[in-house]
Symmetry: C2
């Protein structure tokens, strides 16, 4: 496995590979790799000639009161896991190379961003699309891999690729879960023992909501309230949001048909957890 | 010469060529090709395996009171000229394919844009970078060619490529001029006979300003006034701006050293003409 820090070296490397007709699968991450990331790598490994993964904790997508400094990092362990998973190139850019000065041209996400996580994380998705546009140009993948746990991120990346005609196929894979249902996340390490035991109820609550939505004469307002109560009665978490939207448009609709998402974000003492279920509603 | 309208066909075509290791030179235009465009094509022809030119009058870069509808078009003649100049692919996308719906993610130019043409054309450069980001992804050139007549556009494209790490080399070529010094422009056809005779005085005024700037104890305020007077006394044009800035940063500076630009925009009855000179100031 090759480790690349330099932007120009990364760009040069992929251009050489592409000249030979090799396809590139790309897994962008913020590191602290868990099984969710590794399964994205497995899929990318399977579907492409070359597998490039990046580790970059992107300051632009963290708000001033968020956990950029505290975001968990373990470079050595990440390198070991990536190597084991067959990554060909691990791209580790430095912040001062990615953002040598403030940008002259900014990207703003104007749709799909003012709901769910975007509502309480102003500018978060602007930071996400900015770093992804940069990474996409540096790595020039044929396919890019994301986990559906960050379903809103997937919806925004879908818009990025569509709006700007990136020559990239978006591959969104299922959320990887612990045995008890908790969605795998780098932030799970910040849960106390008690919180960790309660956390799987988030997923259970979403499942309950999904079942209720399939019933007739149940409003989405009602289901949201029930899901929220389910979470607060089973955990000490504080609800950030519970919402039900069309997917991937992330719009509020009265009559549900087609794909919808039911999603929740819950604050625990040192971590904010998110989870969701995307499914078809019978019309 | 192949003519391509379809976005996916364009993207597919270049991906096949790149797999064979061929380099692509790209000349994006709004059509109504003149010698300025054709010389960009000559340079691109010379420096790359394949030459792709695009013709797309981009509605996004025209303001509501600007000349989008009236912008001159001559598809047949453009095709003839492009073929003659050795263009391999002429890309002619349709507006409804480029902008099937309004964008979810917008690009905003926050520097280099609020001076010169950007000042009186709000949103113009947002539209320019948006369409170029799209075209760059559709054509995936190794080198992209622009004329220095649109010097502010070159400065903004330079920022676009730098900020977002596009794997593209920017090639900015000298302004091509008529024998009497008038910068070639698609909009010159809208000059009356008298205006056409007066228009070369814009370039002459800029040259006068350049000479004055090389003298000592002359303020840029003074030079701007003199250049403006030079233009209004020799033409019936109305000054939009005359300005002197660092290049490509396009910032106002007190002490000039390094590259600077002296630029003017002048309204005639049916056309607004721009011109500039970029040069090194002895410090």
């Amino acid at each position: 496995m090759r480790i690349i820090n330099s932007l120009s070296e990364m760009q040069h490397y992929v251009q050489e590979q592409k000249k030979q007709g090799l396809s590139i699968g790309f897994v962008p991450t913020m590191g602290y790799l868990h099984e969710g990331h590794l399964q994205l790598m497995d899929a990318a490994r399977e579907e492409n000639d070359l597998l490039v993964a990046s580790i970059f904790v992107n300051p632009l997508q963290f708000g001033p009161n968020e956990d950029f400094e505290q975001y968990p990092r373990d470079e050595e362990e990440d390198i070991r896991k990536a190597r084991e998973r067959g990554v060909d190139v691990l791209f580790f850019p430095h912040v001062h190379d990615m953002y040598p000065s403030s940008l002259s041209i900014v990207m703003k996400v104007e749709r799909r961003a003012d709901v769910l996580c975007g509502r309480s994380r102003e500018g978060h998705f602007d930071g996400v699309v900015t770093v992804l546009a940069k990474l996409f140009h540096l790595v020039q993948p044929n396919k890019a891999y994301f986990g559906n746990k960050d379903a809103q991120q997937v919806a925004v990346v879908d818009a990025l690729i569509e709006d700007y005609n990136f020559p990239i196929e978006l591959r969104a894979l299922n959320t990887v879960r612990e045995k008890d249902g908790l969605a795998k996340s780098s932030r799970n390490v910040y849960l106390s023992k008690e919180e960790r035991e309660e956390a799987p109820y988030i997923y259970e609550a979403l499942h309950y909501g999904k079942r209720r939505l399939q019933e007739e004469h149940v409003s989405s307002r009602q289901v949201k309230d029930e899901v929220s109560r389910f979470i607060t009665s089973h955990t000490r978490g504080k609800i950030d949001y519970v919402d039900i939207l069309s997917y991937p448009q992330l719009e509020r609709v009265e009559e549900y048909s087609g794909q919808i998402i039911i999603a929740a974000a819950v604050y625990f003492s040192k971590a904010r957890l998110i989870d969701n279920i995307i499914f078809e509603v019978r019309s």
